[in-house]
Symmetry: C2
Subunit: 424 residues, 2 copies
């Protein structure tokens, strides 16, 4: 019963229709970026659009259980989808029947509402949904649905899970780094949004329960809650509120608050070269396999430029003072909500001595000759839990795989990125 | 009684001590970046350090009322600070007397705790605090204190405000874009952290009140609250909890949650050139003064690379399809919590037609000849509420000032950034 997707090649340049999903110029496109979908974010508040997209025959639903998506069993390389009739017992006939105003009025914090995300449309599908807003949009819609059994939809979720698991599909396990690139990007969007909604059931400003709106891209703090009305004692005193479902005021209702919108944490990750430009700084955490090293990384702090964040992190973790910093590329990382901003930095001559005594986060940090690193890129890369390749010899340097931006940064540096005057 | 700071020049290169605050290479350092302070983030959990820093004679306290700092009245160009004895009536003898474990045990949600931020130390001050941790750190500490009158410290705050306002200082007004660059960076850190704490008094995961720890850089969700004990009815039934101050469980206590840490929202802001490379795309919002245009901008969404976010925003707001994208520089923007990632993009030949019909956010968007933009950069820049310069003629293009990254991007583009093959 699951619905596999056809292989749709990205069209040859120039085709403006899918320009949003193409790679250009010198850009390094990292794993989890490169979604083929047009998110149509400006239509998320148009419930008529969402309602039509939901029920179109070209529409695909990604089921997620505990944030793991349904994948095709064969090699775990492709996502598997189901159709509207499959998810209807869980989500109901039309979760987008009401506009946001009516959703506020009918808000009841005790009602289970399965979390859904509108992911976008695939414009390569010419016989998909044809929607005339102010402009015309054609494509196959994609949604994600959280089917983790809970509340009043527990049984419907369990039934659906049981049904799909009879087919040649399964829910993913661990970090899904084997998915094809475009599927990985679609999943990254779904995972990060489902996770953000799950982490934010309450308003950080006022402590009251919140409600998912805008196709899963916003959480609103309603001013009323029908559950309060049901719970309110019968009262005939003058002190009873005019509207028993009314909730205390909240600042997020009277202006735009970033608390209402998905959170993405900018992080810096950097390949640092010595001043002479022939060694690269790598570090390792205690829990990693022996001989495994990678680039240093950390969260950007409030009120820092990226270059400052890079210098601070390298100083904190390794005691190295970095001068020049150039941004290399970025990687969305949906575990849970990072935007990894990759950079190349160069140490100043007086700042090359490694010192792990500031922030004792690393087990070790070392300068590696480019030659050793080139060798490791050839024979010593693998996923963190996986074995190195057949040519790897015990004791040799091990490095992250090409799906990690760390690998891309290291590769760029040993290929001369830092020595090109124009880049640094 | 306010304590003005001496002018301390940044030392000449090479001086590793303050390497963290220097600019290098081709980096464009935007306004609000470039703090002279070493944040020493790894010492924020060391309450003995914070306690010593609090009471050192070299220590400066930035007072903020409704997020506005104390500034020297003369020209609003420099921050003004007070000393420990001044703030003691508000913050108490030693708000860092307890370690985090003891703070959890003594947590009482009904107690007013004035928000404080440890901003870092100025290592140029050689006779500042001398602290031996695992390494040795010397410098003058900086803190920010929220003195907005409230709760049990209302009177102490009002008294302190009255006292400082008798001097040659005042609380800032509006957006403080006249501060000297290094003061602007220190204020940006203070403002963003105070604001984040103020927006997050409750746990978004469980809805219960949270507590500021780690020098203002973390909010914890304690497992007990002495206020519950006080409120608990006397009971002799078996159902009464063993510890009446105990709170319901929360997932943020059992693992690392990003909800506990400050939020920074990555945004993209981009100067887009046409394919021929002789025009630049600028847009305007309805509420801006007549003839005022700027670069397009918007929030990065979950699971996008920066380049994808740039393409999406330009498509949504102006209908333009962007091919090549290069990151230019970044600007912290503490209103309230943005990291502006500046980029230069280039339209593809078939995607240059402006269409405001997707996301109707802009009042207008237009392609401008470089010559017209160069002229505007010379005579038509100013702050958003300010008058243009004396040479400006009514009807001419107006642009943001050099403190805005938009101006830096526009300037780079008309100076040939997009035409340099190595950069794009």
């Amino acid at each position: 019963m699951s619905k596999k997707q056809p292989d749709l090649p990205l069209p040859a340049h120039p085709d403006v229709d899918s320009m949003l999903s193409r790679k250009f110029g010198r850009e390094v496109a990292n794993y989890f970026a490169g979604s083929p979908l047009n998110r149509l974010g400006f239509l998320r508040s148009d419930h008529v659009f969402l309602s039509r997209a939901l029920r179109h025959p070209s529409t695909s639903f990604m089921l997620c259980k505990d944030l793991q998506p349904l994948v095709q069993s064969a090699e775990n390389k492709k996502l598997a989808y189901v159709g509207y009739e499959d998810v209807k017992p869980v989500i109901g006939e039309d979760p987008y029947a009401l506009g946001e105003k009516e959703m506020h009025e009918q808000y009841n914090s005790e009602k289970t509402v399965p979390q859904m995300i509108f992911l976008g449309i695939d414009e390569r599908v010419k016989d998909g949904l044809d929607y005339q807003g102010k402009n015309r949009y054609i494509g196959a819609p994609y949604f994600a649905v959280d089917v983790t059994p809970r509340g009043s939809v527990k049984e419907a979720c369990e039934k659906l899970i049981g049904k799909v698991e009879q087919g040649d599909v399964q829910f993913g396990k661990g970090r899904l780094m084997e998915l094809e690139a475009s599927d990985a990007a679609i999943y990254a969007e779904a995972r990060q949004l489902l996770d953000w909604n799950a982490r934010n059931p309450f308003c950080a400003q006022c402590g009251q329960p919140t409600m998912s709106v805008n196709g899963g891209f916003k959480r609103a703090c309603p001013s009323t809650d029908l559950a309060r009305k049901a719970a309110a004692p019968m009262s005939t005193t003058a002190a009873a509120p005019a509207n028993p479902s009314e909730r205390p005021p909240c600042a997020t209702r009277t202006g735009v608050s970033n608390l209402s919108f998905p959170r993405t944490d900018p992080t810096v990750i950097m390949a640092v070269v010595n001043h002479a430009g022939d060694k690269i700084l790598l570090g390792r955490q205690r829990r990693w396999p022996p001989y495994w090293y990678s680039t240093l990384a950390g969260f950007a702090e409030p009120a820092e430029s990226i270059e400052e964040a890079v210098r601070r992190e390298v100083y904190e973790e390794a005691g190295i003072f970095v001068g020049r910093v150039v941004i290399h590329s970025t990687q969305p990382w949906p575990y849970p909500a990072n935007l990894m901003i990759g950079a190349v930095g160069q140490a100043v001559p007086e700042g090359e001595t490694i010192d792990l005594g500031n922030d004792p986060e690393l087990d070790d940090a070392k300068w590696f000759d480019f030659a050793e690193v080139r060798d490791a890129l050839r024979v010593g890369t693998s996923g963190l839990g996986d074995a190195a390749g057949p040519e790897y010899k015990e004791g040799g340097l091990r490095l992250p795989p090409s799906t990690a931006i760390a690998n891309q940064l290291i590769t760029s540096v040993v290929n001369g990125f830092a020595s090109v005057e124009a880049k640094m």
